[in-house]
């Protein structure tokens, strides 16, 4: 959807004439009360569920969560997936032409925040005639958007579903993000962000950025179990190579992940999104008092964290829960004992998925009772 009216950003900059890509699943009911907005995390998009016809391997990023008969059941709910500004999957981003210069934005694309994204999402909701979402939902960075919705537009959502997320990044989180950014910024192919016109991509930087990021998504135990100290070439009977190539399985895996990522992801987008993560801290405007910050909310909350997630650990979710109970908000919180680290929020785990299903069952009951 194209938007003509300028969007003023937190940084003071603005975007004129921008595009937001979105996808919908299910049917909006007559009183428009069954809409659920699903917000994406770092490397995902508006393509939440299902497979594009004739396009193999095009399964949506949260297909185990969203779809007919799934925990977020599209036979009941009208689900909207939206691609955020600055992304590289169709919504206006740094690879698109800046109308002011006639050239791709590159590094000149304004730094966008979680709140900016939410403001843009709200405009899309306006256009679709959705005054109030049944729920706004997201995992990780997507959870931050859901939380921001509950603060910025308290009357526009009845439920806020925040999975494996946090109300602010820790110094360690920011440090990892900066290593990733430095990898990109110091790649000679980055060209100050204008690599498009040089016909190159800072692949090496993106690759290292993804490798660093990927480490933080997995748990130590999970890595130990999947890879341990296994060597790549079993044929060589466990001999080390005594060079700087690939010895261990884990090296091979991370390089593969990095290579794959650098094929499809945009370096400027990576910089933008990690910056949005770093800046998110809604309590900053309230002297760091999260309880005061969440006093504005009206939604009911569902939060879940995963025990082995050390990127956004259960403690981060507990802080949000504590701030919510201080305000006597309705909140359900689950701490799922899962071995897969931060990535667990995207994986198959019946305890987790059944709980989300049960929660949406309640959301659905409310819609039916109101009808």
């Amino acid at each position: 959807m194209q938007f003509e009216q300028p969007l003023w950003l937190q940084s003071g900059a603005s975007l004129h004439n921008y595009m937001l890509m979105y996808e919908t699943y299910g049917t909006l009911n007559a009183d428009k009360s069954n809409a659920v907005l699903v917000c994406h995390a770092l490397n995902a998009s508006h393509h939440v569920a299902g497979e594009y016809e004739g396009v193999p391997k095009s399964l949506g990023w949260w297909d185990n969560m969203v779809g007919p008969g799934k925990p977020l059941d599209t036979d009941k709910f009208f689900v909207i997936g939206i691609n955020n500004l600055g992304s590289c999957f169709g919504s206006t981003g740094p690879m698109h032409v800046n109308p002011a210069t006639g050239k791709p934005y590159g590094a000149a694309f304004p730094v966008v925040t979680v709140e900016d994204w939410v403001a843009a999402q709200a405009r899309l909701a306006d256009e679709l005639g959705i005054k109030q979402f049944a729920a706004v939902m997201g995992g990780s960075l997507g959870g931050m958007q859901a939380l921001a919705w509950s603060i910025m537009y308290p009357d526009r959502l009845r439920h806020c579903v925040v999975i494996a997320s946090t109300a602010k990044l820790s110094a360690q989180n920011i440090a990892f993000n900066d290593v990733a950014r430095q990898a990109i910024l110091s790649d000679p192919d980055y060209h100050g962000g204008d690599f498009y016109e040089h016909g190159v991509v800072p692949k090496n930087g993106l690759r290292v950025a993804r490798m660093v990021g990927h480490i933080t998504y997995l748990s130590d135990d999970d890595m130990a179990e999947k890879f341990g100290r296994k060597l790549r070439d079993a044929a060589e009977a466990g001999a080390y190579k005594f060079d700087f190539g690939v010895d261990f399985e884990i090296e091979s895996y991370l390089r593969y992940q990095g290579d794959k990522f650098s094929e499809y992801f945009d370096a400027n987008t990576y910089l933008l999104i990690t910056k949005a993560l770093d800046y998110f801290d809604p309590a900053r405007a309230h002297g760091g008092d999260l309880a005061k910050t969440l006093a504005a909310t009206k939604a009911k909350f569902f939060l879940a964290s995963f025990t082995t997630d050390w990127r956004f650990s259960p403690e981060r979710s507990q802080e949000i829960v504590q701030a919510l109970v201080t305000n006597r908000r309705k909140v359900t919180y689950a701490e799922i004992d899962a071995p897969h680290g931060h990535d667990a929020f995207l994986l198959e785990d019946p305890r987790y998925l059944n709980l989300v299903r049960a929660y949406y069952g309640q959301v659905w009951n409310e819609i039916k009772e109101a009808a």
Partner: protein
Amino acid sequence: MNFNDLSSARPDLAFIAHWVPSNSHVLDVGCGDGVMMDYLQSDKQCSGYGIEIADDKVLDSTKRGVQVIQQDMENGLAIFGDNSFDTVLCLSSLQMMKHVEALLRDIVRVGKEAIVSFPNFAYWPHRVALLKGRMPVSESLPYEWYDTPNVRCATITDFRDLAAECGLEVIECVALAEGRRVSFLPNLRGDLAVFRLRKKATH
């Protein structure tokens, strides 16, 4: 859920529910399948949360529309502020705690009033079992000694001492047998002890 449903499912909870005022803010520590909070929310317009550690019970509570917070109550109630609830319930779960005294102190810290229940170890069939040289196994203590989740055994008289030790005022103390109040020889004839407590007023 209405009172009759609760009465037939859990007569002990139905008795205790009388002590929870309508519209009060309640914390149910060890809420299990959420049946008590479900009743208090739907029939007495109470608000609040259940705390539960077990995955299956967190799911049951959520299905009932009870706001449940998954955490180990053994770690205390630090996320809740002082006097943030009108009533804190801890029903048939205190005896499973290693740190009973610490939890009891935390319960009365966050609640203006607390209602605590636990199996009365001095119930006469338990005494008979012990006289016969066996650990009691009964409807209220349905476990063998080697697989019981109950790590603390107490009698009504014992708990009174702990309440005094913690500086608590016993507002009411009732022994129940099969969910009904026992007035004559309660420490002998009651299988469930129920205490209604609050902090002693400080002068």
